[in-house]
């Protein structure tokens, strides 16, 4: 019975430690950087080397279910573009996209550096359009025809940053944050392959391998962010302890704890075995 009680207590200690190992890094971010993979760096360089005043487009092609993995990428890219004096347009091929975009802009504006960023001047949220590839194609000839009004009903002409923008060719870069179809593939096929605008993208960790072949010498895809780890690498590149970094911290601490637990379990068994041997010796004597 006593051993049973002790194993119950041991188990509770293990649970409690694991709880802390995940909780504390979320509350107090550490910011352990990890090596930045080359495809993430490519994506970063694309935005980093765009001159001030350039316009980038982020297409929000995901919904709430993949928010944990993808949203941190959106926020990091918006902050990165703003810090370089660029302007950002948000569009969406998925119905929930405009909502994701609004949340991301709001999140980025919480950074004191960007609290003065102004709607219509530094960013716009154009909204969702049905049609996938057909929509992207139409944007190739005219933005204004597809989006006479933005997501909240403001006229195209009242938004100053859009004054000189005609079609996709007027963009410096495009990033599709994509959780499936329609999404990144459509942007690659039309925006890059037809109109030669550099396209980068962000996907979940699971679907990233499927897009890697597009990062080729034709530059169909300029870098790729795959999953939370890539998002945390991007945050490290712009020097930010963001949500992806904290979550990766929590992962690392929990992994280390589990390794420590395995070691502790072995030490426990070893000590018990040694005690048993000693006890037998005592009885023998």
């Amino acid at each position: 019975m006593s051993q049973n009680t002790s194993s119950v207590i041991e188990r509770r200690i293990v649970y409690f430690l694991l709880f802390l190992a995940v909780l504390l890094p979320l509350l107090f971010p550490i910011g352990w950087g990890s090596d930045v993979s080359p495809v993430v760096k490519m994506s970063y360089d694309l935005i980093d080397q765009t001159p001030a005043g350039g316009i980038g487009l982020i297409s929000f092609d995901y919904e709430a279910s993949t928010i944990t993995e993808i949203q941190p990428m959106a926020v990091a890219q918006i902050e990165h573009a703003w810090s370089k004096g660029q302007k950002v347009i948000a569009t969406a091929l998925w119905p929930q996209g405009p909502q994701m975009a609004a949340q991301s802009f709001e999140e980025a504006k919480r950074n004191p550096l960007f609290k003065d960023k102004e709607y219509g001047v530094d960013y716009v949220n154009l909204g969702y359009k049905v049609g996938g590839m057909v929509t992207v194609q139409a944007l190739g000839s005219s933005f204004k025809d597809v989006y006479p009004k933005d997501s909240s009903g403001r006229d195209w002409d009242t938004l100053p940053m859009l004054k000189d923008l005609k079609n996709l060719k007027g963009l410096s870069w495009i990033c599709s944050l994509s959780a499936g179809e329609p999404g990144l593939k459509d942007w690659i096929m039309i925006a890059h392959d037809v109109h030669k605008v550099p396209v980068t993208g962000g996907t979940t960790a699971v679907s990233a391998p499927g897009f890697l072949p597009y990062v080729n010498k034709n530059g169909q895809l300029t870098g790729l962010l795959g999953g939370l780890k890539a998002a945390s690498e991007y945050e490290a590149l712009i020097g930010k302890k963001g949500p992806a970094t904290t979550k990766m911290d929590a992962q690392s601490v929990a992994h280390i704890l589990i390794l420590v637990l395995i070691a502790a379990g072995n030490i426990k068994v070893w000590i018990r075995k040694r005690d048993k041997v000693n006890n037998t010796e005592v009885t023998n004597a």
């Binding site: 049973n4 119950v8 188990r11 590839m133 057909v134 194609q137 096929m189 039309i190 392959d193 037809v194 072949p213 080729n216 034709n218 169909q220």
Partner: protein
Amino acid sequence: MKRILTILFILSTLTSLLADGAPLFTAKDRPYDKGDAIILEWKLPATIDSLQIQKADSLEVYQPLFIPLEGETSFVDQDLSYDTRYKYRLLALGSADGDSLLLSASAMTKQNWFYMDKLAYLLMLIILSAAIIYYILAAKRGKEFFIRRISGLDSMEEAIGRATEKGKPILFVPGVAELGDIQTLSSLSILSQLAYKAAEYNTEIIVPCRFSMVLSAAREVVEEAYLKAGRSDAFREENIFYLTDDQFGFVAGIDGIIVREEPAANFFLGSFYAESLILAETGLSTGAIQTAGTANAHQLPFFVVSCDYTLIGEELFAASAYLSRDAEQVGSLKGHDFGKLLVIILIIVGVALEIAGISWLKTFLMGAGS
């Protein structure tokens, strides 16, 4: 003879000219299918810079279909309707602007009566079925086959004994899959053996089910076992019950049963997913003897670390034969073993052929596997 050679020579020159020189774009129905695909192929001069393939929609307006990666020369357009004509065109831009090309092609989809690439598949089906049926018949005629020990199953008696001693029930979870899953059905045939023994020992057996159809079948199986053991008076229908279709709701309910009823023996046999570790760890905390078994390979590690005995993969399907020693089941098991030998031989031959640079066997099988 000479004339034939001359003709052949001219023909081959012509085809090679065609192949090298003139750009080519063809569309054809994919043979031996249900008429849902068209194969597009093209051959273009090296000076082409970018390519796009377009397809006419219902209004005869060409829409972009596909942009090939460099080096690709074919594409299969799938999910089409049968007996329909589809039109395509290929748009190629050369490095110089004047160099562009526009080629068109069309084809009609057609339904066929046999999937030729499934030939290997059909052959394997016939060979394996024949072997299994052969051994079943042999066993029925009285031929005895040996079965090696399966340690996870020898413990079953011990587990029931322990439950009887303690006066505690046995918990049996037939997995979280529908009745149509073969693992669930195998689990139910093990349940039939187990319930028979439990009836003999007069020990209660609790069976929570996730789906109504599993519930129906599980009740039949247990009732039948009690009947066979001559204890139909002891059969209690309410011990085999439904909780909910929801995966984690089901798990929450079982966890409650484990900690409150404290069964002396837990059996988790069937198809399990993420819940494997939740169930096994909760069961471990009450000190029950645990036997688990699943063919879902990714869940096996969690059963292995938390259960006393684990049936790995095929062992789950062999269990019923092992326990019942029923001639037909043992014969069928021998048939599976024939399949294993066949697989081992095929792999060895296949690897040898691959090393020798011959790959028709692999291609033949791959056609069936894709």
